[in-house]
């Protein structure tokens, strides 16, 4: 019996520590600042344990029965603590309140355990042995729990199921105690029933842990993730919230279906509608097919070549019904030809010429992408522009990355082109900028294809007006041997986020 008794001390101690760790970890996960969270959780918890120990003196009779009830309460509160915390974070404003309430409740109950146990067994051992044995196993349990927690429990089970598992252990100790201390108990049967009920509830909890987590996560993240894939080139994520579909490439927002028409109408029409009789159009990037959708509104365009690096991207936007609905199956159009290739070498190798060229790459966040914003690249592209043609470059935000925007404009200018920068407001992006460029002066178009939701012929000249806070500032051009833009872009966005 002695060994079994002390094993339960160890288990009980492990449970106590696990609840504390779970509360600390959950708070750190959900609100961050882990040093603060762990400090305050541990402090509050230890203090509550002290309260529990102090309260233990008021428990006089039926100690075993009370111990069993404490274990059951602990099993329920501790076991459901992480599910409760997660749901509280997802659905209420009072996460902190629930957090410290749970910490104090479990702390008090854990604080009661050891004094009660010591008193229960004091008749069997000398005081000296009780202290030595109980505390030894208590601390051993703590060590076991603290090692199990990060190595096995969190990675294998997750926080919700770990807590429930240890709730089961508490309930198990309670049930076991009805046998272990049977001689000191009156209503064994009803206690055992209570134990079994708690065990059942916790088991159901474990079986349903996934749903609990999912319900909470749905509320924690703004939108449902409906597609997520690491391709050879990038991480593609699609999210949906009600009717809003969003595409993220390497965590950078590419469009929101609610306002992408503003972006893509502005990207395509100011330039394309100003080209007389455009027949051949090139899109570099733009694997989502949204720029292509706009270009297909011109019946005189005979052939569109779309060059996008990632075959998974063009495949996704050719097949996924929600996406083909958005791009109106543009990638499947007979006038459009998809080429999956790296843009710069492709531009070097092609001999074709085009009346309009759309350059719609991700922002220049690294040196690899930076190559696609250089004078060398624009010179190479410009060789494929017909004499009446224009090219347009998505040029990041003239508001948030003003230096970068004007650097891109200067780079196009130094590539021997006349430049016509403009900007537009896209709610999900903010102020966004484009640079039109060509070898002749630009005259805004008098008419546009029917069915546009944002652009009008009268509105186009307004896009070319820059208010003082976005106005031109002199910038060096971006070149392969300097790559000033990448560093500039990094600085620009750093300034925003701090």
């Amino acid at each position: 019996m002695g060994v079994l008794l002390f094993v339960s001390v160890m288990l009980v101690a492990a449970c106590g520590l696990i609840y504390e760790l779970i509360a600390g970890a959950m708070a750190s996960y959900l609100i961050g600042d882990s040093v603060f969270q762990f400090s305050t959780v541990i402090g509050t918890y230890l203090f509550a344990m002290g309260l529990g120990s102090a309260l233990s003196r008021y428990l006089n009779r039926g100690l075993v029965q009370r111990f069993i009830w404490i274990e059951l309460m602990l099993g329920v509160i501790g076991g459901f603590s992480s599910a409760l915390l997660m749901l509280a974070f997802a659905f209420t404003q009072g996460f902190q309140l629930v957090l410290y309430a749970v910490v104090i409740a479990t702390g008090i109950l854990v604080g009661l355990e050891i004094p009660l146990l010591m008193r229960i067994v004091r008749e069997r051992y000398s005081f000296r042995d009780v202290i030595a044995h109980v505390l030894t196993f208590d601390y051993m349990g703590a060590l076991g729990a603290s090692l199990l927690f990060p190595i096995v429990l969190v990675p294998r089970l997750g926080l919700v199921r770990s807590a429930l598992l240890f709730g089961l252990i508490n309930a198990g100790v309670a049930l076991w105690s009805t046998y272990l201390f049977g001689s000191q108990l009156m209503q064994k049967r009803s206690l055992r029933v209570a134990c079994l009920i708690v065990i059942c509830v916790l088991s159901v909890g474990i079986a349903r842990a996934k749903q609990i987590t999912a319900a909470a996560e749905d509320n924690i993240y703004a939108d449902d993730i409906i597609f997520s894939r690491n391709t050879q080139y990038q991480h593609i994520v699609l999210t949906r919230f009600k009717d809003d579909l969003r595409l993220f490439l390497n965590s950078h927002l590419q469009f929101s279906s609610r306002d992408e028409y503003r972006y893509h109408e502005s990207l395509v029409h100011p330039g394309l509608a100003a080209v007389p009789a455009p027949r051949r159009v090139l899109i570099l990037g733009g694997g989502d097919g949204l720029a292509a959708r706009e270009i297909l509104k011109y019946p005189q365009v005979e052939a569109i070549t779309l060059v996008d690096l990632d075959p998974e991207m063009t495949k996704l936007f050719s097949t996924q019904p929600m996406l083909t609905n958005l791009n109106q199956k543009s990638l499947l159009a007979s006038r459009l030809h998809v080429i999956n290739a790296d843009a710069f070498p492709w531009v070097d190798s092609t001999t074709d010429s085009f009346d309009f060229i759309v350059i719609d790459f991700p922002d220049p966040t690294d040196y690899a992408l930076g190559k696609l914003y250089t004078t060398a690249f624009y010179r190479a592209v410009a060789r494929h522009l017909s004499s009446q043609g224009f090219l347009v470059v998505q040029s990041t935000s003239p508001m948030f990355a003003r230096d970068s925007f004007w650097c891109i404009a200067e780079t196009l200018h130094q590539s021997g082109l006349q430049t016509f920068p403009y900007h537009v407001y896209v709610p999900s992006f903010g102020e966004w900028g484009f640079v039109l460029a060509g070898t002749r002066p630009y005259v805004a178009p008098q008419s546009l294809p029917p069915g546009l939701r944002f652009l009008t012929p009268d509105g186009i000249p307004l896009l070319f007006e820059f208010p003082p806070d976005m106005a031109h500032i002199p910038m060096p051009p971006n070149q392969l041997n300097t790559q000033v833009l990448v560093r500039m872009y990094d600085e620009d966005w750093k300034d925003i986020s701090h």
Binding site: Y233, D366, Y367, A368, L369, T375, N481, Q483
Partner: protein, 507 residues
């Protein structure tokens, strides 16, 4: 998820051992472009097959490196076609040879040319011809892309190779003082590229001491500064500062303007220049033609190579000059011609190793390594994505005597050098063995002329610059330093000298 018991056990136990499933790759490779055996035939005065046929040219150019090809380029530019270039190796280019695999072209030796200063008129003329210099502007694609270089020191990266982190006040003061001293030497106009244009012998005393002694005598004892000076001498001369003439050490820094632009470079390094030259003169070039004898007479010169006896009016000797005594009867062994042994390796990488947070660069150097680090051949590519690449690894065997190191180079097998190179890279890229799939190693016993003490202003070197009967010398070793600009200068110079003597040809 169901995990089978066996899988669980294997993954589980591997995880416990920290091995997981990241196995090292098998590395293929061999020695390539071996030339020592052929060269030793000359050294050992082996008997060669007697010629079967006779061919006549006005000019025979011995050696198809940059010097020989530049001579050819000048001859053809002057409309002169009656000549042949004889190259011993199966590929022309010498120290500007290149290789190519399915990933990229890559250099075998020299891999860049600094943007030439105003006095390097021949280099500017060539680059104008090749489209590198257009309307006074350097072609962007030929300038090294950013980020250019990084140095690993004290467990971290810095950009640029001159140590800048972990410097004490004293180090900083010495770097600044050295810069000031070098600026004064630069201002004298004595240190030029090509070297011959500025050389008057004004600072002859600098050629009489080692660069190390010169630094010490001026109180430059900073460890970081001395590392950097040693790195520079190993990189350009294959020698340590203690084996380098102070004149040459100063020339390295004082001959170039502080340029804003990085050097000119290409995926295959200076092999790109070789290719462009071969497009222009290739029909005059014969490879696999080892010259074994050059005989002068009153009426002309006879050059024996393989089964052919070439009869010419003049020979441009563009091969390394140390070969001359073995080819020309009675030609004295030139004194003060010391050559540095080198090793280069091209490593095929299936993926880039961990770089501890630093962006990949063109040139990577580890401080306190005996090697010179590596250059990434795909850095100069306009591709945006590409996992696989080729690194060219450079190692000048500078510690010890050249003879010892040549011996060592020949003695050790491929496996030895493969391990030595991987261990050097593992200082920083701990996962390199998971990335490399192939390593080809090229050993060069006489890779480049070394400007040892007394070499620059030596009498033998000055004598060689004159015409020797019907033979005109043209190798870069005439300058005492082995750089592209010198090789090209002497090649063109030799061509012009010979054109002046070829009967009936207006020069």
């Amino acid at each position: 998820m169901k995990i089978g018991r066996r899988k669980f056990l294997s993954v589980g136990s591997a995880a416990l051992l920290g091995l997981t499933l990241k196995a090292d790759r098998r590395i293929e490779g061999s020695f390539v472009n071996e030339s020592a055996a052929a060269g030793h035939l000359l050294r050992d005065r082996a008997s060669f097959t007697s010629p079967q046929k006779i061919e006549k040219f006005s000019i025979v150019i011995v050696g198809g490196g940059i010097s020989g090809l530049s001579a050819a380029w000048r001859l053809r530019k002057r409309g002169f076609k009656d000549f042949v270039v004889l190259e011993m190796n199966s590929q022309a280019g010498g120290n500007a040879r290149w290789g190519e695999n399915e990933i990229t072209a890559y250099p075998w030796a020299a891999h860049y040319v600094p943007v030439p200063g105003p006095r390097a008129t021949y280099v500017r003329e060539l680059f104008t011809d090749l489209g590198v210099l257009k309307d006074g502007r350097w072609e962007e694609r030929n300038l090294v892309f950013a980020p250019q270089e990084r140095l690993f020191l004290y467990g971290r990266w810095q950009d640029s190779l001159e140590p800048a982190v972990g410097l004490t006040q004293k180090d900083r003061e010495q770097f600044q003082r050295l810069q000031d001293v070098l600026a004064k030497y630069r201002a004298t106009g004595e240190f030029t590229i090509p070297l011959e244009l500025g050389l008057t012998g004004k600072f002859a005393e600098l050629d009489q001491i080692s660069f190390a002694d010169w630094l010490a005598s001026r109180g430059f004892d900073s460890r970081a500064l001395n590392w950097y000076m040693n790195y520079a001498c190993r990189d350009d001369y294959g020698a340590l500062t203690r084996d380098t003439s102070a004149w040459a050490g100063i020339h390295y820094f004082a001959s170039r303007e502080m340029e804003e632009l990085g050097p000119l470079t290409w995926p295959e390094g200076n092999g790109w220049i070789t290719r462009r030259l071969l497009e222009r003169v290739g029909e005059n070039v014969r490879t696999g033609q080892m010259v074994n004898k050059i005989i002068q007479s009153n009426r002309g010169v006879t050059v024996l190579a393989g089964d052919t006896e070439y009869r010419a009016d003049f020979v441009i000797f563009a091969a390394p000059t140390f070969l001359a005594p073995y080819l020309i009867d009675g030609f004295p062994k030139p004194r003060n011609f010391v050559y540095s042994p080198w090793l280069t390796a091209n490593l095929t990488l299936e993926q880039l190793p961990e770089s501890r947070g630093a962006e990949p660069t063109w040139d990577t150097v580890f401080m306190d390594s005996p090697t010179l680090g590596y250059v990434d051949a795909t850095h100069q590519s306009v591709r945006t994505f590409g996992q696989r690449t080729v690194w060219t690894f450079y190692w000048a065997l500078a510690d010890g005597t050249p003879a010892q190191n040549r011996q060592f180079l020949l003695e050790k097998d491929w496996n030895y050098w493969k391990e030595a190179i991987l261990q050097d890279l593992e200082r920083v890229h701990t996962d390199i063995r998971r990335c490399v799939s192939r390593m080809d190693v090229m050993r060069m016993g006489h890779a480049m002329i070394r400007p040892s003490i007394g070499a620059i202003l030596s009498e033998d070197r000055a004598n060689l610059k004159r015409k020797h009967g019907r033979v005109v010398f043209a190798n870069s070793d005439l300058s005492g330093i082995s750089i592209f600009e010198e090789a090209q200068y002497h090649g063109i110079d030799a061509a012009q000298i010979v054109l002046g003597h070829v009967s009936g040809h207006p020069s």
